[in-house]
Amino acid sequence: MFLLVLAGFLVAAIAPGVERVTGRLAGVVLAAAPLTLFAMLLRRAELLEPGGRIEAGGAIRETLHWAPQLGAQLSFRLDGLSLLFALLITGIGGLITLYAGSYLQGHPARGRFFAWLMVFMASMLGLVLADNVISLIVFWELTSISSYFLIGFDHAREAARRAALQALLTTSAGGLAMLAGLVVMAVAGGSWEISELLEQGETLRGHSLYPAMLLLILAGCFTKSAQFPFHYWLPNAMEAPTPVSAYLHSSTMVKAGIYLMARLSPALGGTQLWFAILAIVGGATMVIGAYLAIRQTYLKRILAYSTISALGVLTFLLGLGAAGGEAAAGGAAPVETEIAVYAAQAFTVFLLAHAFYKATLFLIAGSVTHAAGTADVRRLGGLAKAMPLTALAAGLAAFSMAGFPPSFGFLSKELLLEATLKQPSLAILTTAAALLGGILFIVVSGLVAFGPFFGRRQTESPPADASSPTEASPHEVSFPMWIGPLLLGGAGLVCGVLPHGIGEHVVAPAVTAVLGADQLVPIELALWHGFNLPLLLSTIAILTGVGLYVLHPQVSRLLQSGDAAHRFGPEAWYHGGLEGLLAVARWQTGLLQNGSLRAYLRTVLLTAIGLLGWTLLRVDSLPLGIGPWPEKPEEWFYANSYRLAVAGMILLGAVGAVHSGSRLTAIASLGVVGYGVALIYALYGAPDLAMTQFVVETLTVLLFVFVFYYLPNSPRQSTPAHRLRDLLIAVAAGAVMSLLVLVAARVQIDGRISGYFAANSVDVGHGRNVVNVILVDFRALDTLGEITVLAVSALGVLALLKLRPRREKLS
């Protein structure tokens, strides 16, 4: 399986080259890659072969080492659920590639498009096959990134760039939350392999961090799968070319979150929390998405909102059905088991049905826009004559979406109603939500698939987006563009009429995986369940839905008027959040990095004072390295008068340096400070140091005098208040430093290295001046470094003097 995923990435790498070489046939040639993967998956899964493990509810697993210290392994596992997704990804991927080859014919960046499409396909395949938590995250993020590049494919347009960014930020914020959740789960469950974690359901659900891990993981799933209130990015993602919308944003990537919830439901599902969150969020998404869909008038946006609604249905079903892995195994009450099985069946069947019809409808929307030059449903109608094959595909897809018998969609709706009706609590509410969703779906399918082909144009006025001249003469699209929709649309019908085969080979293993059962859960899919409550409800829904569709022009106008939801809806939160964040960032950066060196110095010094002062305060008693107060102060004073004089001299020098308005006075005052320090050296028995200091000070002052002679006096720039503030900071800094030295001076331990230098200077270092021997022998590397510093300084002075910017030299 690793090789299958790797192959996908390799195809991505060569896709631009292949596109260039094959020209017109690029779509056909490149479509061979996903279709080959599709075939290889079938072989690997031993589907339809006698004794196939997956069909029997088992799994195939393989592992490669990656970064085991971090729990990352390239381990892959193929079971019913991942097979179902993998087949959708590669199968639809092939048809999409074929379609895109013609759709983007002549586009200069078609090669790059294919590359990103293949990167996405391989990542998505990796995502659903991964058994390792970290690998899953890796592929998950890769799908977000490839989605970013595909949404922004038409990158010269700002709208495309914004939509791409919005989708990326939303999904990766969720993705990072999910990362945290998954790591917590892995640590709690003691394994990085999903298949092993699924065995730990009991431990995980009982863990104190269970709510945290669940919420974090769901944050990732909900953002990725466009659940309310994170759904806003998906309609905007329609900026992408149509094949991308059909592939990523309806049939595969947006189902990654659904996949993960289904995958983890045996471990995390079945709790009150799980049920509450998934049923509420899923139900809300289902209804709100469908409602928003019928407000739209542009094909792709209608489809986008209906996709959101469908994703809500899937989440809703996972919420209803997650009676836990034990349910199917027989641990729970029979009713719960039955609901779980129904919900899992409904989930799987709806997933498939939706993938078939939604990809079809998107592709058709692309074809219609391509052929008729507008995407406004009010300006479309009667295209069936000009585009018979596309119309046929549209009809099939619409049938399935609306849930008319004998389509696959009908079957899924029946199962959905069975699951809601069997709920022990809230049956009426959940059924009502499901019904409402179903009714709105009928309207949507009428809008996007019936109206444009079989209906009449509602308006004859020229469209606002009349950019294409082809509107006058709609025509059938080329083979690569109708074959995909037709096959997918047909699949919806075939699976509906003959549900047995797909039920046995594909749905049953997937249901088994969703339920986390050890043995295959037998499934009997049938179109006809007899006259029962679901059928009655379906009939009511169909009649209401058709009625609503007929009245749609009026309904739509009515809905358009209430626009408040848009202004205060979740998308406004996204923009507000981003703007707010940037405002905070601006404020903070203006405050901190304000460009003034004085402010920087002030902050640094205040930090130093704060940290050191705080540490000083934490000390219980402040033992200073000074003796007791002298008994006879006068005597002490006389004995130390020369020391005090030196101290006073240094202080005066310091004050003078700061206070003086002239540079020359200031530097002379600094010289006084330096001489004072030299005197201290002399007083405390370091005459050599004192000599050095005298020389250095003299030289420095002289040099500064030479330099400053040429500079004008600088006027005072600070107000008295500022000077007072600076004075306080300076005094505080000095005080803290002095205290520190006094505290430290008290502590001295034995074993100082200075004794060694004195003892070995002559014998080992062959020199009588200990300081010299230290400098050139014991610690010669220091001196080497300092010499280098000097050399570099010289170079710097030279460069500063001689190397001027060109324009200054000219003037």
């Binding site: 922004g152 990158h155 920087y600 280098t788």
Partner: protein
């Protein structure tokens, strides 16, 4: 083999002095410069392999036993840092052969670069606190001169802020070293690790820890001491800011890692708790600063700060040892320290590369302002991909190096139940992605604004040609570093293993002390 330790210091110094003689011969200078860097790279690789195989290496210079002379020590951390420095030095020096103008070369660009590397390598390898100060001075002075080289107004202004704030750091460092010597009577770090606890003065030790936190914190550009960095990095030519971006702050981080795992580990609950807190603030302020910038290199500069926070996070997580010293805690703390080392490695490669990319962009379109740039994805798709690798890696997108770095930190943080810092680290990740996509959208996706109006203002064809000339020498190193980023990501296992080993050494300072083996002084 321990003479090997002196080479990363001596080699750049000799190369630099040799090049001083070649001032009027730019071609010869470039050749020597590149060869010298390659030599350093080979040395660094040998050093890392040796240390990984044989354990911590130490040499006592002049044959004076520690703590009397100066020790050079290479544990895994130091050896990794030297290798990273050599790697980026090589990339930048090749890039510089075409991107640095002849005048800057004549005034010592190449020797300065090598002196800078000498200072950096010396700082990584020295086992002596005062010697560390000396190497800090070497790299401070050479970086200051590099920053002013060219004497443009913006450069000098930035350089003054740079040097003033860094001198405060130096003053604090010197004061700290002096007081520390006054208390313990030694400057050898291994010896300090023994004698400071023996002094039995945890409170004095805490104050010293604060001084070093401040001194190295300024160097490392942590919150709220980072001002010099965004004020200066963008002013110099791209090659210079690239070498600064990867190395200077990392020397500060290295020094923090060194002293806060070896010397100041007596009151972890206080010191490392503080570091963890500062790490969080550093991440946030840095990334927010970047979010509002509108110039390529300014965005990158602020991101350096943010990433420093991540590096410190691994160190700060040691705080948990203050209340829980179990096997599991130590394992997670080791992972955190390993993550820090991994993060540094990832960051140096990626950040250097992004600055190098910005240099190419500025050369081709003459500005770094995002609103005046555009069109690179359409015109140069391969170059655009070369930007994407480090940019997405910085944002932590898998399977690139940054993802593993962040993952390891997050894992360590979650295992140690430090949820706050993990939440910050993840949120900052989103904002990093925001910044990188901002650059991508403006520079690569958006159409070139110069092409929208009438094409009169397009540069003449000769000028275009001169801009294109030698571009391969600039893109080559970019491709090389992007390759390394990919390699770190794909071979995360073995590389993280080295980082983890380094984490083990950091958490067990006795390994370092034993290697230096200070004699018991009387």
């Amino acid at each position: 083999m321990n003479w090997l330790l002196t080479l990363p210091i001596l080699l750049p110094m000799l190369v630099a002095s040799g090049m001083m003689l070649l001032r009027r011969r730019p071609m010869a200078q470039r050749l020597v410069s590149v060869l010298g860097m390659l030599g350093l790279l080979a040395t660094a690789i040998t050093l890392l392999v040796t240390v990984y195989r044989d354990g911590v290496l130490a040499i006592q210079l002049g044959g004076y036993a520690a703590p009397y002379g100066i020790s050079l020590v290479a544990d895994l951390l130091a050896a990794i840092m030297v290798l990273l420095a050599a790697m980026k030095g090589t990339a930048v020096v090749i890039y510089s052969t075409v991107s640095i103008d002849a005048e800057r070369e004549a005034y010592g660009y190449h020797p300065l670069l090598h002196v800078l590397l000498m200072g950096v390598c010396g700082a990584f390898l020295t086992g002596d606190l005062f010697n560390l100060y000396v190497f800090f001075e070497v790299l401070l002075m050479s970086s200051f001169v590099l920053l002013t080289l060219g004497g443009e107004r913006g450069q000098v202004e930035g350089a003054i802020k740079y040097v003033t704030l860094n001198l405060i750091s130096s003053a604090l460092f010197l004061a700290g070293a002096g007081i520390l010597y006054g208390v313990t009577g030694t400057l050898n770090m291994a010896d300090l690790a023994i004698k400071l606890p023996a002094a039995g003065q945890p409170q004095v030790a805490n104050m010293l820890a604060m001084i070093f936190l401040l001194a190295f914190g300024i160097k490392a550009a942590i919150f709220p001491l980072f001002f010099w960095l965004p004020a200066s990095y963008h002013t110099a030519p791209a090659a210079i800011s690239a070498i600064f971006a990867g190395l200077l702050t990392k020397v500060g981080v290295y020094a923090l890692l060194r002293v806060f795992t070896l010397v100041f580990v007596h009151d972890i609950g206080f010191t490392h708790g503080l570091i963890l807190m500062l790490a969080g603030f550093t991440m946030v302020t840095g990334v927010l600063g970047a979010a509002v910038q509108s110039e390529f290199r300014r965005i990158l500069s602020f991101h350096i700060i943010s990433q420093i926070g991540y590096m410190l996070m691994g160190l700060g997580l040691m705080v948990v040892l203050a209340w829980s010293d179990t096997e599991a805690t130590r394992a997670a703390v080791t992972m955190g320290l390993g993550a820090t080392v991994f993060y540094i490695a990832h960051h140096i490669v990626v950040k250097t590369n992004l600055f190098l990319v910005s240099g190419v962009v500025e050369r081709l379109q003459g500005t770094g302002r995002l609103d005046s740039l555009g069109g690179f994805y359409a015109s140069r798709p391969v170059f655009s991909l070369l930007f994407l690798v480090p940019a997405l890696s910085l944002a932590g997108i898998p399977p690139l190096s940054g993802f593993w770095a962040k993952l390891a930190l997050v894992q360590a943080g979650l295992r140690l139940e430090q949820y706050g810092i993990v939440a910050i680290a993840l949120a900052v990740g989103v904002l990093t992605l925001f910044s990188m996509t901002k650059i991508w959208a403006a520079v690569f996706w958006a159409p070139d604004p110069a092409e929208r109006p009438a094409s009169e203002e397009r540069p003449a064809s000769e000028e275009r040609l001169s801009k294109e000339k030698g571009l391969a020498m600039m893109i080559g190193p970019i491709a090389g570093l992007a390759g390394i980023t990919l390699l770190i990501g794909l071979a995360a296992g073995p590389i993280f293993e080295v980082a983890m080993q380094s984490g083990v050494q950091l958490l067990n300072p006795q390994i370092y002390i034993d290697a230096v083996h200070p004699v018991v002084s009387e």
